[in-house]
């Protein structure tokens, strides 16, 4: 169950059942009530004092003055000893009725029993030609027994009724139905087993009642009861099937519709409850779905109300008709009229009761919302609960609705809104039962988002403002505040809070954690003494506690943090930790493994660093002790120390590598060790190790956010692997080899020169030096060539790795990282191309743009992926980008056009859609780019390229003179903050659209805003100035317009698109509006003198204008 708080639901259920009971159409009064009055006796003869007395009694009954009626009947009874038995029976029956209305069950019981015993023929035909009222009296007696909880008497009587062959069929059916109810009522105070047994008996009785079909109202009534019993027994299928049969056989009267409706709700409730209790999720889902269908089929308040109203109207119409047709009613007619009047009153009561209950609709929405929440349809649940706030704000269970609404908001990711609702809830319903849970949710949302200060604020607000918070919640909030302080590195505050917490909640569920955290606070403050005390306390109290692994790890850190550090002890503790926990599957411990390895590495580094001083001293001794034996001793000492240091360094590296390899689930530790290894391994020339490690990490998850970084490291290390240390060693060996020879040869030359040796000898000596130098150079060149070849091979290998990574995702349109890799690859290849000066020809074996293109084709494995649309598109994109890096716009255009001409939007990734679409739009080709932008708008509205969609489409609409649409797009982008890198463009389109729709003031504001934004200085600034001028011109202010035009072409002449327009605009205004033809000519002359402008369409227009001047 999504929702743990079924308490609210249960309350809701109770309330709706109350509604149900209130509106069940008790469309009639009791048989006893409806029993016709002996009006005939009252009217004939009118002068008879007994008849007068009887009439008086009946009139009092009509007016519900039962005490008076009883008095009259008792008086009549005294005088009626001589009357025939049937009339005595009438009086007895009436008396029983009065007792019934007075709810004097004991007297009613006695009187009815007396009536049934004394008058075997009942009222004979006096009250009804076909009914002597014995059946009615017996049924009423059952009610009287029931009201006195005389269940056995009631059942006994009902059994008599059921088996009596003389009883009317309808009464027999009613007897069955009533028996079932009595059986249920009897078991009400019994055990669950008794109740279930009673329900089983009720099913048996009701089945007998419905065995003859559902053709009569009595049978349908029994059927409806059976539906209810089935529902209670959880036999929902049977209930629904029978209900469908009853509905089909029903008259469709408003009363039946209403009742059927409430049965539907009951069936829904039964299903919901079964769903709550089901063990399997599949069963739960099915039951919730069924419950939802039942609730969705329930009528709404307005409909129920209309049905009840209609029922009242129909009954009233029947009554009016009867009254109208019987201006002078016969006794029979009077009886009918009275019965009809009673019905109308009864319906009106139901109507009034229903009208009083305003919660009906809200309860339906509430239940639908609960089902949807359980069915993991949070958006629809959100709509259902929102309906309550919008349409039934006064709902009595609105606090429950708020709570579930908040849950729905959380499910759909609307956390800010959920928090606002939490606050609203806590302020509005401080006494609601959900208040504690909501108070926690309020802060929890911020805490989950790692906004700890805000979370603490919310928790404190809840503590201060929520009056009815239970102790458990208060404790939870206190602890959550501590966690927030802790996460927010407020160590002092956290520790103080922990002390308070431990003092205040001594039996807290979080006592162990609090003890541990308290020590951690000291730890993070670097107060190791207190930390050790704290951890010792924890270890003593919880030797097998949840945090023991961490505590032992931190104890090791404490040893390492002492001054001087106890490194050996640290290493011992770490090794013991690994021995005890390295194989653990516990997530927290697994996360800690890299940290322990890191600590070992740090300790080893420390040991290595500690040797530096001794090594330096040994070195100094070597240098300062000329005596060979001492020198040799110190040299040996130095070598030993260096070896020892190397040993520690190697161990440290091994430990860091182990940390990295176990750091998959601990990104912080991983980042740290990778940084440390980045300092150590490349300096030692261990590029291969570096590469292998990064490769392993990259392969963990290629879709990881950091995967690209790891890949870059793989490539970097691979490239570096080319420059192997052996090349340096070889070069050094060569240098060494020749240095002695060269020194000897040079010495010989010097000696010959000094001794004025023969020139031939000097020359020969010099030649020998030159020869040696040449040999040295040649040998070094061999080494260098080998090095270069190795570097090239490594770079090739790196490109291969990159290519492999791209190829892996090139077929998957949704892998957005693919384009990033392509850009990286294109940039790398572009760098390989040697730039040539204009006119120069490349060497035949030079790596040219064509070579780069070939290589990128090969590296992207386009040939292998020729059947993949997206791979081919990415190939064109890569070549286009390569051309862009090589500053070849024509080629970029060529490849981007290929994409635009051949690919549908849905075949491309958002990056390509945006970049190619933008490129095509800049070239004025809107046909395909429009589709691309449209696709971004529809499918990638939350991507980092969403703004390209809005900006591009708005620009196109502006070009199509659909200014309103362009404005709407801009407004939508700005309102929803979808502007990102295209904000300038979107605002510029908006300003122009405003200008085009003559909203000059707004447009001016917008243009000025863009123009004054420093970051946007450039072509758009020129465009804004031009447009400001154009707007002035359109508003008939030529001088002001010229001012803007002038600023445009003077300040931004390099943007010929705008400066050409501005020149032309200024010249035209000078010539036509300002009557300054000379000035116009000068402007045109200046314009045409500009190389960038003279061939523009505006220049041609200016020439024509100039000719006319």
């Amino acid at each position: 169950m999504v929702t743990q708080e079924s308490r609210t639901y249960k309350l809701a259920k109770a309330a709706i059942l109350a509604v149900l009971i209130a509106v069940i159409p008790a469309t009639t009064v009791l048989r006893a009530q409806t029993t016709p009055k002996p009006a005939a006796a009252a009217t004939k003869p009118p002068e008879d004092p007994l008849a007068a007395l009887y009439n008086k009694a009946m009139a009092a009954m009509d007016k519900k003055q039962y005490a008076a009626a009883l008095k009259n009947l008792e008086e009549l009874e005294k005088k009626a000893a001589a009357l025939p038995p049937f009339l005595q029976a009438v009086i007895s029956f009436r008396k029983a009725s009065v007792f019934y209305f007075l709810k004097d069950w004991a007297k009613a019981d006695a009187e009815l029993n007396s009536f049934l015993t004394k008058f075997p023929n009942g009222t004979e035909k006096f009250l009804d030609d076909n009914d002597n009222m014995r059946g009615v009296a017996q049924l009423t007696l059952v009610e009287v027994y029931a009201n006195q909880s005389k269940w056995d008497d009631a059942l006994k009587l009902l059994q008599v009724l059921r088996t009596n062959p003389l009883i009317q069929p309808k009464d027999r059916l009613n007897a069955y139905t009533l028996s079932a109810r009595i059986v249920e009522e009897k078991a009400r105070s019994g055990s669950e087993a008794d109740k279930k047994q009673a329900l089983g008996q009720a099913v048996g009785l009701l089945k007998q009642a419905t065995a003859g079909g559902l053709g009569t109202p009595e049978a349908r009534e029994a059927g409806m009861r059976l539906v209810e019993v089935y529902t209670k027994l959880g036999l929902v299928k049977d209930a629904e099937q029978l209900k469908a049969e009853i509905d089909a056989k029903g008259t469709g009267s408003p009363a039946e519709v209403v009742r059927s409706n409430f049965q539907r709700i009951e069936i829904g409730d039964a299903r919901f409850e079964a769903g709550e209790n089901a063990a399997e999720q599949k069963d739960k889902d099915e039951l919730y779905r069924q419950a939802l269908a039942s609730y969705q089929g329930a009528l709404r308040r307005a409909t129920v109300s209309r049905s009840v109203t209609k029922a009242v109207e129909l009954k009233q119409a029947d009554l009016d008709k009867l009254v109208k047709e019987n201006a002078k009613p016969t006794p029979e007619a009077t009886l009918k009229i009275e019965a009809a009047r009673a019905e109308v009153e009864s319906f009106k009561t139901i109507q009034a009761d229903f009208e009083k209950n305003k919660d009906y609709d809200a309860f339906i929405s509430y239940r639908i919302g609960l089902c949807l929440l359980e069915l993991k349809r949070p958006w629809e649940a959100f709509v259902a609960f929102r309906d309550i706030f919008e349409n039934n704000p006064g709902f009595s269970k609105v606090s429950g609705a708020y709570y579930y609404y908040i849950l729905a908001l959380r499910e759909i990711g609307r956390n800010a809104e959920a928090q606002a609702k939490c606050k609203e809830f806590l302020a509005k319903y401080p006494d609601a039962e959900e208040v504690s849970m909501v108070a926690v949710i309020l802060g929890q949302i911020s805490q989950d988002r790692e906004e700890y200060e805000e979370a603490i604020g919310h928790y404190n607000w809840a503590k201060a403002n929520v009056k009815k918070m239970d102790a458990a919640t208060l404790e939870e909030i206190d602890f959550r505040i501590i966690c927030c302080l802790f996460a927010h590195v407020e160590w002092d505050k956290a520790r103080v809070a922990l002390d308070e917490f431990l003092a205040k909640h001594q039996r807290s569920f979080a006592k162990e954690q609090a003890t541990y955290m308290r020590a951690l606070c000291w730890f993070y403050q670097g107060k190791f003494k207190e930390t050790k005390a704290g951890f010792d306390e924890y270890q003593a109290a919880y030797p097998k506690g949840d945090f023991i692994a961490d505590v032992r790890y931190r104890q090791a850190i404490v040893k390492f943090g002492l001054n001087p550090p106890e490194v050996a002890e640290t290493l011992r503790l770490c090794q013991e930790w690994l021995r005890d926990f390295a194989v653990s599957k516990n997530e927290a411990i697994v996360n800690q493994i890299p940290e322990v390895h890191t600590l070992i590495a740090d300790a080893e580094i420390r040991l290595a660093t500690d040797l530096d001083r001794d090594i330096a001293a040994a070195d100094k001794n070597v240098r300062t002790n000329p005596e060979p034996a001492a020198k040799a001793k110190y040299r040996a000492e130095k070598e030993r120390l260096e070896k020892e240091k190397e040993g520690h360094t190697v161990k440290a590296i091994d430990a860091y590598v182990a940390a990295a390899r176990s750091g998959r689930t601990n990104p912080n530790a991983l980042e740290h060790v990778l940084r440390e290894l980045g300092k150590l391994l490349p300096g030692r020339g261990e590029h291969a190790r570096m590469r292998d490690l990064y490769r392993e990490i990259y392969d963990w998850n290629h879709a990881d956010a950091k995967a690209l970084n790891y890949l870059y490291e793989v490539i970097k290390a691979t490239e570096r692997m080319g420059d192997k240390p052996e090349f340096a060693q070889q070069a050094e060996a060569v240098q060494k080899k020749f240095s002695a020879q060269l020194a000897a040869a040079r010495k010989k030359v010097d000696e010959l020169v000094k001794s004025d040796g023969k020139p031939a000898d000097v020359k020969a000596a010099k030649d020998a030096v030159a020869k040696l130098s040449a040999e040295l150079a040649a040998e070094l060149d061999v080494v260098e060539k080998a090095r270069q070849a190795s570097i090239l091979a490594a770079k090739g290998e790196a490109l291969g790795i990159l290519s492999g990574a791209v190829a892996e995702s090139i077929n998957d349109r949704r892998q957005e990282g693919s384009e990033k890799l392509i850009l990286f690859l294109a940039e790398k290849l572009a760098r390989k191309v040697k730039r040539l000066k204009p006119g120069a020809t490349a060497a035949p074996d030079a790596y040219t743009a064509a070579s780069a293109e070939e290589e990128i084709t090969r590296l992207l494995r386009l040939e292998e992926n020729k059947d993949s649309l997206i791979a081919q598109a990415r190939g064109f994109f890569a070549k286009g980008q390569l051309a862009a890096f090589l500053r070849d716009p024509a080629k970029t255009d060529f490849y981007f056009k290929k994409i635009s001409a051949n690919y549908k939007a849905e075949e491309l990734s958002p990056t390509i859609l945006a970049i190619v679409g933008d490129h095509m739009l800049a070239r004025g080709e809107t046909k395909n780019s429009e589709g691309y932008f449209q696709y971004i708008m529809e499918h990638h509205r939350s991507s980092e390229y969403a703004d390209f969609g809005f900006a591009g489409l708005a620009e196109i609409r502006l070009g199509q003179k659909k200014h309103k649409e362009a404005l709407e797009l801009c407004a939508e982008a700005i309102d929803n903050n979808v502007t990102m890198s295209k904000e300038k463009d979107i605002r510029f389109v908006k300003a122009r659209a405003l200008a085009e729709t003559q909203k000059y003031d707004e447009a001016k504001k917008e243009f000025e805003e863009i123009a004054k934004t420093k970051e946007w200085k450039g072509e758009t600034t020129a465009g804004c100035l031009y447009w400001l001028g154009l707007m002035e011109e359109r508003q008939g202010r030529p001088a002001e317009a010229v001012g803007y035009y002038r600023r445009t072409y003077q300040a931004w002449k390099k943007y010929e698109v705008w400066s050409a327009k501005a020149y032309l605009g200024a010249a035209r205004l000078f010539a036509t509006k300002l009557d300054q033809k000379q000035a116009a000519k000068e402007v045109i002359a200046e314009m045409l003198s500009k190389d960038r402008i003279k061939d523009t369409p505006e220049a041609a227009e200016a020439r024509t204008l100039s000719a006319q001047l």
Partner: protein, 342 residues
């Protein structure tokens, strides 16, 4: 008195039961004639209407119903006027269901072919309770709406309005709804939103309410009020889930609204994915509806291919009908509460 007892006795006051087994006419005075369904055909080629000689045969043109009864070995033919019919009991016509299916599949012309004869047949007693005339007229309106033929809709509505003498509030409401749909198509969105909101508060016919929500939501979407549009579209599966024929439009509209709500600021809500989920559900649940076709266009290519594959599997299995049979909404006045609604 205890509710238990009171409840039991309530039934005694309810009216007499109506026995109904097929299509039947109830005349004034309660006489009931079983009648043949003129739209039920046999398997001959060309198919002929299935006639049961014991049942009455309706002639809409003459405005009569004729029945032959064998009394004492003699066949006696009796004729009664359709104007004397007080109530009609007519199980949902297969032909009408077929027309509805054509509408939802986006084949409005075929829908019109199916529905026109029903409208003509019931024209003679269109206002009699239980008549399928209004229901059929609504299907016709849907078909015309799909055709986007404003002129035809206008003329049909004019005709409907002529028939609206105020005696049938259901007809009046449906005309109002159709007029709103017309106005929405003309782009009068703000007015449509206001009027639809007002009408929603007044009506209780689930079908009309679901339609009104669709119209209102459509206008909200057109005016880029995405959140409100989503909220309105989703009210249909939430509160009118029994109105299955409106679910495809609602799901498609909600998916579009979610797309509109999707911005970088709401990225956490993964609205594109929410939208796609509704589209996939739509394709899976109503695979041959017109909206499913639209949904496929809206889905990203990969999702569309997957959804099509799923739909094909379902089709191969041939276990699911296109749209679940729509149970009649419970009517307050009980007009449809007969055997047909089983």
């Amino acid at each position: 008195m205890r509710p238990a007892v009171r409840t039991l006795l309530t039934a005694a006051l309810l009216g007499a039961a109506a026995h109904s087994f097929g299509q039947a006419l109830i005349f004034k005075g309660g006489e009931r004639w079983e009648v043949n369904d003129p739209f039920k055909m046999d398997t001959s080629v060309p198919p002929k209407p299935l006639i049961d000689p014991k049942k009455g045969t309706i002639s809409s043109i003459k405005g009569t119903v004729v029945r032959t009864v064998n009394a004492g070995g003699t066949d006696i033919e009796s004729t009664r006027k359709l104007s004397e019919v007080e109530r009609i009991i007519w199980p949902n016509s297969e032909r009408l269901a077929e027309a509805q299916l054509f509408v939802s599949r986006g084949e409005p012309a075929k829908a019109l072919d199916s529905v026109e004869p029903i409208i003509k047949f019931f024209d003679a007693f269109k206002k009699t309770p239980g008549s399928l005339w209004l229901k059929a007229s609504m299907v016709k309106l849907d078909a015309l709406d799909r055709l986007e033929n404003d002129a035809a809709i206008g003329s049909f509505l004019d005709n409907l309005e002529k028939n609206d003498d105020g005696s049938n509030p259901e007809l009046a409401n449906k005309i109002k709804l159709a007029r709103l749909m017309q106005r929405a198509r003309r782009g009068e969105h703000d007015a449509v939103i206001a009027d639809a909101t007002e009408l929603i508060g007044k009506l209780d016919d689930l079908d009309v309410l679901a339609r009104l929500h669709l119209v209102k939501a459509g206008s909200l979407l057109a005016t880029k009020k995405y959140e409100a549009a989503m909220n309105t579209y989703l009210r249909i599966p939430v509160f009118y889930g029994s109105q299955a024929e409106h679910l495809p439009k609602a799901m498609l509209g909600a998916a579009r609204a979610f797309r509109g709500m999707d911005t970088p600021a709401t990225r956490e809500q993964k609205l594109e994915e929410v939208s796609n989920r509704y589209l996939r559900d739509l394709i899976a649940t109503f695979p041959v509806s017109k909206e499913a076709e639209e949904a496929k266009k809206l889905l990203p290519k990969e999702d569309r291919l997957a959804a099509e594959a799923d739909a094909a599997k379902i089709k191969d299995a041939a276990v699911l009908p296109d749209a679940p049979a729509k149970p009649d909404a419970p009517k307050a006045d009980g007009a449809n509460n007969n055997d047909a609604n089983k």
